[in-house]
Amino acid sequence: MAFEGLAERLQGSMKKIKGKGKVSEQDVKEMMREVRLALLEADVNFKVVKQFVKDVRERAVEQEVMESLTPGQQVIKVVNEELTQLLGGEQSKLNTAQKPPTVVMMVGLQGAGKTTTTGKLALHLRKKHNRKPLMAAADIYRPAAIKQLETLGKQLNMPVFSMGDQVSPVEIAQKAVEQAKEEHHDYVLIDTAGRLHVDENLMGELSDIKEATKPDEILLVVDSMTGQDAVNVAESFDEQLGITGVIMTKLDADTRGGAAISVKAVTGKPIKFAGMGEKSDALEPFHPERMASRILGMGDVLSLIEKAQTNVDEDKARELERKMRTNELTFDDFLDQLAQVKDMGPIDELLQMMPGANKMKGMKNLQVDDKQIAHIEAIVKSMTKEERDNPSVLNASRKRRIAQGSGRNIQEVNRLIKQFEEMKKMMKQMTGMQKGKKKGGFKMPFM
């Protein structure tokens, strides 16, 4: 990743205060400068940063940090807590109308991802909440926007209401709601055209749609890579329309996503969903505490744990742990591990969630391709049972056979065997360390 996280930024100033009995106000000031820069680098709006740093400094000076033995960690903790609170504390759900259908308007700048998100939200409502949504194509301006929604509808098997691009968006929206009532849809998602927040005519059009359809939700779709301008965009959409919530898109990018903070801070409206990938089901409820960690560059450990919990077989894990201790690890266990990791999703996404992963030696430019995993699998699967249980029998002739069987070359086979042996060695060391409870032991990567 191109940017340093807060933790890395704080390391410099922490070194200086290490060994000092007490932290001076000057030290706190320096740390606050690092906090400020980290947030600015994460694209949090500078005004928001200013207020935020002021709040954190107050808390920091109020003894908490200065009297702590580990002021660096303490600062991170305070910042993390304050950020989480700023981001909205808890998850927030979609509003529903007392009498269906619930009308949801999707608004935002060009290219934020409104149409794609409309499709994702419709699928989310059907899959997770067993609802029957209708999507309405009210973007008559961008070439083929209606076609895009129709194609999405076909892919997802979801009804789309459209009247072509010669009818006013207000009329389309109105008719869509009428049809939803007739056909007993419980949600209508209106996809509107992207527009600049400073375009008075088009903003007026949105007000007209609002007037005509009385939506229960007006969701502002915001590209999470947006820079300082996110504040102005959110402010003007909110002022002119009164948005009820926000969806952050493209959060699967390597952006810190500071725009989320800016938007939340100026509008006070909750962030309800996050777009996490290109697939139609890649829309997740927004978790403020995870976003806070991400903005600070601390990794998304919670999401990683959650993914692991839903995918890892506990019995197998226990068995593996025993084998690690007794150093009986075989290639079969290795294969199992691979399969479990694969179930959790693309490897590079998992790596991104790991704190400090980008700092680890050799990991910085590591690009894991899921195909490589398939190659490794092929190699292991080309081994005989005996070879998997006892890799020491692998001689040149066996290796050649394995290479041929898996369609990989012999160097790759050698590399894998070597890596496996090293892994075994490393595990032995690790388990030994845990048993002996050596001083220090594991360190959190960001401390």
């Binding site: 070439p143 890579m225 301008d229 996110a230 493209k250 390597d254 991104q352």
Partner: protein, 333 residues
């Protein structure tokens, strides 16, 4: 001759129309930036640490980028000390000058690498939603008006409706679109397009690609392959790889540029949606931190609002009022 005089002179060689386009498209940035600067001068009469911190904020607010801002302000601190500038009013021209220098100093090639009498292949890449297809439509229109035979390759076979979107642009600008079905291999589309463009004697082939986030390894590999296919068919193609960046993007724009450059050897940047934001500062960051020239800037929504980037025009668009002030002062003194 003073910096601003030189700037004025180079501007006088260009048409009024272009100057107005830049001034119009950048009016948002100019207004907010100049407004903020004036406020700063009012609030801080003397140049001190607080003044510089405030200045940092103003520049960061324009998305100039944290690193660039820190470098710039450090230079200003030294310069102010050296020249013994104490009044904030006297430092304003210096700020403008430093920012302008950043834009003008590097002699980067901003012209498109056109092949005379032969097919020029332009590959257009970028993350999702930055305006690749729209930019291609506008570029097609531009080249067509220059009398060139243009063809488009519908390489975004992934996003729903993307091919149709390019087709609409093909109709509007009256140029042929080479396409296959949605979901087909983009490299195959490119192969096909190059063959057709060659046989029909086209001058320019504009290749659309699906938007992809730069951290998706597989998708970036796909892009690599698309480029490889082009090179295989015409050894020095693509003659240009244009990265489309959305001006509203924050610091991630730098990451985008870096990774796309690694994968596809980007030769130029198209910066879109500049008119909508008050954040034209990203151009400064790109210039300062990356070795990729900005070739086109999107200054509005109409077809002819995609303009060739001219650094002097950009400076003028940003600081027109300040420059005029400085000039007036120079003349009266």
């Amino acid at each position: 001759m003073s910096f601003f005089k030189k700037l004025k002179e180079s501007l006088s060689t260009q048409t009024e129309q272009v100057t107005e386009k830049f001034k119009g498209g950048l009016s948002k940035t100019r207004d907010s930036f100049v407004g903020a600067m004036n406020e700063l001068m009012m609030e801080y009469r003397t140049v001190d640490e607080e003044f510089f911190e405030e200045l940092e904020d103003i520049l960061i607010a324009a998305d100039v980028g944290v690193n660039t801002v820190m470098e710039l302000v450090d230079e200003l601190r030294e310069e102010a000390l050296r020249r013994n500038i104490k009044d904030s009013v006297n430092i304003q021209p210096l700020i403008t000058e430093k920012l302008s220098e950043l834009l003008v100093r590097s002699e980067q090639e901003t012209k498109i690498n056109m092949q005379d009498g032969e097919l020029t292949v332009i590959l257009v890449v970028g993350v999702n939603g930055v305006g690749k297809t729209t930019s291609i439509g506008k570029l097609a229109n531009k080249f067509k008006q220059e009398g060139k035979k243009v063809m488009l390759a519908a390489g975004d076979t992934f996003r729903a409706g993307a091919i149709e979107q390019l087709e609409v642009w093909g109709e509007r600008t009256d140029v042929d679109v080479i396409k296959q079905q949605a979901g087909s291999d983009p490299a195959a589309v490119m192969f096909d397009a190059v063959q057709k463009a060659k046989s029909r004697g086209a001058d320019v082939l504009l290749c659309d690609t699906a938007g992809r986030l730069q951290n998706k390894v597989n998708l970036m590999k796909e892009l690599e392959k698309v480029k490889r296919v082009l090179t295989r068919e015409i050894p020095d193609a693509p003659h240009e790889v244009l990265l489309v960046l959305d001006a509203t993007t924050g610091q991630n724009a730098l990451s985008q540029a870096k990774i796309f450059k690694e994968v596809t050897e980007v030769t130029g940047i198209v910066l879109t949606k500049l008119d909508g934001t008050a954040k034209g500062g990203i151009v400064l960051a790109i210039r300062n931190e990356l070795d990729i020239p900005v070739k086109y800037v999107g200054l509005g929504e109409s077809v002819d609002d995609l303009q060739e980037f001219v650094a002097e025009q950009y400076v003028n668009g940003l600081f027109a009022d300040i420059i005029e002030d400085a000039e007036a002062r120079e003349e009266s003194s």
